[in-house]
């Protein structure tokens, strides 16, 4: 029954927890895949969808060269393995593809993108964003950083609202957006989408995570399904922003 799970590239060896957590950034989207793709096809009840979505776990691997890759694995939920016989991994990975890249020919194997942390800081280490110097060069630099990013990670407590630089998430973390001056690239049509982490205790605290993904993402499941279809059909480099650099 577990024939295709997990899919481990040749030469891969398992890595420790941090990488597991890291690919869980993609698991958030797996939950969305269950909701929007698997649920209608398998006619799952909402309660089942919830459990199922929480049961998908990504596993990260390192190959001999140290490159990270990930496979999507469903193990946590003991009973629904029969679901996964019908549950092709392809739509799941359509979602994960927004944040990872394929290292091998194997379609179930992906490399995690590098994660860059950028912060303004004063000479004495203060990182209050109201303290920094504002000038055109720095502004351009920040805008370039944002433009290069395929996805942005926010933590609701960090979203800023003052000065109109970065709009805050709603109180419930449901929606967030960039506005005004630092919008990364309007042509990409990026918007912020936030998801409930489907597990508690993620990185130490029950948390919300918001990412900016490709165009057409929104909180309604119908449009998410359309977005996936569009992503699959879009020619490389056109509208695929957020997938390929």
């Amino acid at each position: 029954m577990q024939a295709r799970w997990p899919c481990v590239p040749a030469g891969a060896r398992p890595v420790q927890t941090p990488d597991l957590i890291r690919i869980r950034l993609g698991v958030i989207d797996c939950a969305a895949a269950v909701e929007t793709w698997a649920a209608p096809r398998l006619r799952l009840r909402p309660a089942t969808v919830n459990v199922l979505a929480q049961s998908i776990v990504g596993v990260a691997w390192k190959n001999a060269a140290g490159a990270r890759s990930g496979s999507i694995l469903s193990t946590r939920f003991a009973r629904p393995l029969h679901f996964f016989q019908h549950f092709s991994c392809i739509p799941v990975l359509e979602f994960v593809e927004a944040s990872v890249r394929r290292p091998y020919h194997d379609r179930r194997s992906y490399v995690m993108r590098p994660l860059r942390y950028s912060i303004n800081v004063t000479l004495d280490g203060c990182c209050d964003h109201r303290v920094g110097i504002v000038d055109e060069d720095l502004h351009r630099h920040a805008a370039e950083n944002l433009a290069q990013a395929d996805a942005l990670l926010f933590w609701p407590g960090d979203l800023r609202d003052d000065g109109g630089r970065v709009a805050a998430a709603g109180a419930d973390g449901s929606e967030a957006g960039l506005d005004g001056t630092l919008r990364p690239d309007d042509r990409r049509g990026k918007e912020v989408r936030s998801c409930r982490a489907p597990w508690s205790g993620w990185i130490g605290t029950r948390s919300w995570c918001a990412g900016i993904w490709g165009r057409s993402w929104s909180s309604s499941s119908g449009s998410r399904v359309r977005a996936v279809r569009g992503r699959r059909e879009a020619p490389a480099g056109a509208g695929g922003a957020g997938i390929d650099r």
């Binding site: 927890t17 941090p18 957590i21 890291r22 590098p114 994660l115 860059r116 942390y117 950028s118 912060i119 303004n120 800081v121 004063t122 000479l123 004495d124 280490g125 203060c126 990182c127 209050d128 964003h129 303290v131 920094g132 110097i133 000038d135 060069d137 720095l138 630099h141 920040a142 950083n145 942005l152 990670l153 926010f154 933590w155 407590g157 960090d158 979203l159 800023r160 970065v166 990185i203 130490g204 605290t205």
Partner: protein
Amino acid sequence: MGGVKLPLALAELGLIDEYEFVVHPRVAGHGPTLFAGLSKYIDLKLVSRLEFRSGAVAMRYEPRR
């Protein structure tokens, strides 16, 4: 990415591949400070450096692994 709390958690777990600090030529005299509460040292390797006319310097580091 900006902010403080999430990066602290990510840095603790070794998940950040590249750190960019844009150091502004100013002394604030107060916090919040970066990565306050980090439980271990993170050793970094300088990979690039960019100076701005204002005197600010953007430095990019990768963790030494």
